[in-house]
């Protein structure tokens, strides 16, 4: 209370700038980013602007991560409802006034910039549901589950209608993880799974032609080798031809002769896989697994239900992105527009991912404060 020493200032700065950052989480993310940039350099061979652009994306995203890490989890909880309401409002606006790009109404033109509100739902959805379960903690009745179901279904339906099936699935996954972790009874889960399977034909009949085609192409890519099947065929060739050790950095023929479509964005894993082989794939899987494990530890140790559910959903969403992207590139999942976390080129995804990581850091830092 008397004088502030230089040491105090240093400590204060450290607390402010360094302690808010979770070491293990951040270092694993940096390692993956490094691999991603090296791969991007190879994929964007001849276009170094992609690499510098990605570095700028990372810079912005890390700054946002740091800012989010400063925010108290309680503040996040207070923001949950407004963010969710704004998000759903924007989705409705998209449905009404959205711009049509490539046959889908996904973008909203704000005059200054165009935004894709479905992207913010990836965070807003788990935030809202976690806040809801926190609020109803200890007194959950069937009405609450029903209410949660409505909160879940409205944005998912709006996004699916755009149509953007990939994002709808990812947003749905994030919401589902909260509901699952909140303890939805196994009976409902299994019953729902059976009902879901039974309603597949109905879903099929509601799918757009291009969506059906993607599923059909997955089953047999050779039916359309120059059209929809081309992506899968070429990326599978890239992965397979990489072999156990890979062709070496900058040596991928599928990559450098432009056989891989979208090779800096959604299909960048084909580039990585071709050049670094099974060994590289294993390493990447391990890094992702470590990041997820760290996130789960944070979730398990979180102070409140809200924080636990939010952290768990964020980590499992992260896993989902990894799994869907790698599954798609290696030909076991249909082609949906999901980037590979921390590797694919793109600012929006990078910002979303680091926002999630920032939230995890905030939760990690605040666990002791409330528990004691």
């Amino acid at each position: 209370m008397t004088s502030i020493t230089a040491n105090d200032v240093a400590l204060g700065l450290k607390e402010r700038f360094v302690d808010s950052i979770d070491g293990p989480l951040f270092s694993i993310a940096l390692l993956i980013l490094a691999l991603g940039l090296a791969t991007l350099y190879s994929a964007a061979y001849g276009n170094p602007a992609r690499v510098t652009g990605q570095l700028a994306n990372v810079g912005v995203a890390v700054l946002i991560m740091w800012l989010v890490a400063q925010v108290q989890p309680q503040t996040l909880a207070r923001l949950a409802v407004p963010i969710y309401v704004v998000g759903v409002g924007l989705l409705v606006a998209v449905a009404l006034f959205g711009e049509i790009v490539n046959g889908a109404r996904r973008w909203l033109d704000l005059g200054v910039t165009r935004i894709q509100p479905s992207e913010m739902m990836k965070i807003a959805m788990p935030l809202m549901l976690a806040w809801f379960f926190q609020r109803r903690e200890g007194q959950l009745g069937w009405q609450d589950w029903l209410a949660a179901g409505v909160l879940f279904a409205v944005p998912v339906a709006l996004i699916a209608k755009q149509p953007d099936l990939g994002t709808a699935l990812l947003v749905a996954a994030a919401g589902f993880y909260v509901i699952f972790l909140a303890g939805l009874s196994w009976k409902v889960l299994i019953g729902g799974a059976i009902a879901g399977a039974a309603s597949l034909p109905l879903v099929w009949s509601m799918l757009h032609d291009y969506q059906r085609k993607r599923v059909l192409t997955l089953i047999d890519p050779t039916t359309d080798p120059l059209g929809a099947g081309y992506h899968i065929i070429q990326s599978t060739i890239a992965v397979g031809s990489g072999g156990s050790m890979g062709k070496g950095w900058l040596q991928g023929t599928q990559t450098h002769l432009e056989f891989i479509p979208e090779r800096t964005t959604d299909f960048i894993f084909a580039v990585y896989s071709e050049e670094f082989g099974l060994l590289g794939n294993g390493a990447l899987l391990v890094l992702y697994l470590l990041l997820i494990a760290r996130g789960m530890v944070i979730a398990a140790n979180a102070a409140t239900l809200f924080q636990r559910l939010l952290a768990g959903a964020i980590v499992l969403s992260f896993f989902t992105y990894c799994f869907v992207n790698m599954g798609m590139v290696s030909g076991i999942l249909p082609v949906v527009g999901v980037p590979l976390p921390l590797v694919s080129y793109g600012g929006t995804a990078m910002v979303t991912l680091f926002t999630g990581i920032g939230i995890l850091m905030s939760i990690q830092r605040n666990r002791k404060l409330v528990q004691t």
């Binding site: 031809s241 023929t253 896989s273 794939n281 636990r308 799994f323």
Partner: protein, 630 residues
């Protein structure tokens, strides 16, 4: 309350951790599944995908061989390959051809002729991937296009070798030309099983030696492994089996002599074939007028084609090879030989020529070209002054079938077998032929006309030269050929063409000598080519001839001045020199030039002057030069 909450909270926490644990297990299982998939693709199926990736990136591209050169006997280049640029359109990669061409025209010059030529090729070569819209681009044009090339997917500048015929029309009828492979060529190549040999080639020999020696000239294509990108653009060559260039042709043709012969023809149409009697090698092969074979290489535009094809002078006709004309009096030395050999005449046998000839029971009288006749005529004189009446009687005594079989020995009525495709056999009539052709029996009167080379009686200028060479060579027959040898492009090894004599015509040297002497005297004062022979420093032998273009009615006289140019008689001359040891034999035909002695013989003289005595002609033969008679 707080306590119960804590209890509940603990329970909740437990449940949450169990659920998180289940989720964690699922994560590990899912990643395990991914790893299994990677293992399957990258280890189990690696070879398969490796091959697929290699197939993607490596294209097997044929490398077209360089076509062999064509050189004359002195090494003068008649056909060579120059490198130049073409602007080619890949028809399958261009949606709107018209629009693309219109846009291209703003960068490089594309004339309406180029467009028409391109359209014509589109129809004729449906199998071709790319077709040239412009050829022989300048460096500046290449640079201009390259700067804009991104705007034109499916249009490429190609550096290519172009066939070039530097002597243009001088050797057009011998050398011929190559042209783009069209659909008909493709069919033919398929039938002959040669498709593989033409992978990567755009051109094929169409006419002349370029066509008849196609197999030797073409060469064998090589193969290159080229790395390509997803757009099919070649990036670099990985390995290459080089193409084997086609073999070179070295001709017996002497372009200097050819030039002299062409020049002395002046404005006349016609043909001249010069053969070296001791080998059968063709020294000169002239058909006037000629044309520029370079026009045909990358497709001729319809307008130019029409102007050549519908030209009244028919420059595309190879008169030396395919033009068939009545022999006229040039048949007489052969008839004389037949009379002697078959014992129907002796050198001493003399007739008194009243100026015409009649057959018992036939009202028609066959006139001699000289009204009133030549008086007392023996075999020698009959050749020197070209007496018709002598041969009317001789022909009648020989009969058509004897004439047919004897003249066959000299190559009449059959192809000579020269090494250019498309040769015409001419016509040497017989009883059998007339029956087959007209279902009519042969009349004695038919024989009378044939005896002086009129009637059913046709030969090509090549056949005239060939028959003359046989006489000059004392009956030893060499197949005429324009190619002296084929030179292997790799080993330099030479394959001689027709080095051995075909056969020998059995002739009594005594009779042969008599006829040959008479032919020498044709070119001496008093002979029908006496003026043409005047002042020659060497002796040469010859025989004049005139071929009627229109028939004359009985009692009608031929008046050169009254008759339109196109209906005037053709002038013929056969000759060899030097008379004692012949090195050159000629067959000459000059269309619508009148008597053989008047124009054709002076042409021969000038050719001999150059070839035998080394004297260059001062001027071409003109119509009013030397008025010798038939």
């Amino acid at each position: 309350m707080r306590g119960t909450h804590f209890g509940n909270g603990n329970q909740d926490l437990k449940r949450f951790q169990v659920r998180l644990g289940i989720a964690g297990f699922c994560v590990v299982a899912a990643f395990g599944a991914l790893f299994a998939r990677f293992f399957f693709l990258q280890v189990v199926q690696h070879d398969y995908y490796h091959t697929k990736a290699e197939d993607n990136r490596i294209a097997i591209v044929p490398v077209a061989p360089n076509r062999g050169l064509i050189l004359d006997r002195n090494g003068v280049v008649l056909a060579r390959n120059d490198s130049a640029y073409t602007l080619e359109i890949y028809r399958n990669r261009v949606d709107d051809l018209e629009a693309t061409i219109a846009e291209l025209a703003q960068i490089v010059e594309i004339t309406p002729r180029d467009r028409k030529r391109f359209k014509r090729m589109l129809e004729e070569s449906k199998g071709a991937d790319s077709l040239p819209i412009r050829s022989k681009l300048t460096d500046e044009e290449v640079a201009k296009f390259s700067a804009q090339a991104y705007r034109f997917p499916g249009v490429e500048v190609k550096a290519r070798l172009f066939r070039q015929y530097p002597l243009t029309d001088l050797t057009a009828h011998a050398v011929g030309y190559i042209g783009r492979i069209n659909d008909r060529d493709v069919e033919r190549l398929e039938e002959e099983g040669l498709t593989a040999k033409y992978k990567g080639s755009d051109h094929i020999g169409k006419v002349g030696l370029e066509a008849s020696y196609e197999h030797a000239l073409h060469g064998t294509p090589g193969v290159a492994q080229v790395e390509i990108d997803a757009g099919g653009r070649p990036l670099r060559t990985l390995s290459q089996t080089p193409a084997v260039a086609g073999n070179n042709l070295v001709l017996t043709l002497d372009t200097k002599l050819q030039k002299v012969a062409e020049d002395v023809f002046g404005e006349f149409r016609g043909a001249l074939v010069a053969i070296e009697p001791a080998t059968g090698g063709v020294l000169a092969f002239v058909s006037k007028p000629g044309y520029d074979p370079n026009l045909f290489i990358d497709g001729i535009d319809p307008q130019t084609w029409d102007s050549l094809n519908n030209n009244p002078d028919h420059p595309l006709n190879n008169r030396a090879l395919t033009g068939t004309y009545p022999l006229g009096s040039t048949i007489k030395p052969f008839m004389a030989l037949a009379g002697l050999e078959l014992g129907k005449r002796t050198p001493e046998h003399t007739i008194s020529d009243p100026g015409s000839f009649g057959l018992p029971g036939v009202a028609h009288r066959w006139r001699d070209w000289k009204p009133g006749g030549h008086g007392s005529v023996n075999l020698h004189k009959s050749i020197v002054i070209s007496c018709d009446t002598y041969y009317y009687g001789l022909g009648n005594d020989l009969g058509i079938d004897n004439i047919h079989s004897f003249l066959s020995h000299f190559g009449f009525g059959q192809k000579t077998g020269i090494d250019i495709d498309g040769e015409k056999p001419g016509l040497l009539p017989s009883q059998e032929w007339k029956m087959k052709r007209f279902k009519q029996k042969w009349y004695a009167g038919d024989t009378i006309s044939v005896s002086i080379g009129q009637g059913y009686n046709l030969a090509t200028p090549l056949q005239l030269a060939f028959a003359t060479a046989i006489v000059a060579n004392d009956g030893v027959v060499y197949k005429p050929h324009i190619v002296r040898y084929v030179e292997d492009s790799r080993t330099g090894e030479r394959r001689e063409v027709e080095p051995e004599p075909l056969r020998k015509v059995k002739l009594n040297p005594k009779w042969l000598q008599i006829v040959k002497q008479a032919m020498v005297d044709v070119t001496k004062p008093g002979g029908t080519a006496g003026r043409a022979g005047m002042g020659a420093t060497y002796n040469f032998a010859g025989k004049t001839g005139t071929a009627q273009v229109i028939g004359m009615k009985q009692g009608e006289r031929y008046d050169e001045k009254k008759i339109a140019e196109r209906f005037r008689d053709h002038a013929l001359f056969i000759a060899y020199a030097p008379a004692e040891k012949p090195t050159i034999a000629l067959g000459i035909l000059v269309e619508n030039a009148g008597h053989g002695g008047s124009v054709a013989a002076p042409i021969a003289r000038k050719v001999f002057d150059y070839y035998v005595a080394g004297i260059r002609p001062a001027s071409p033969v003109s119509a009013d030069e030397a008025a010798d008679s038939d």
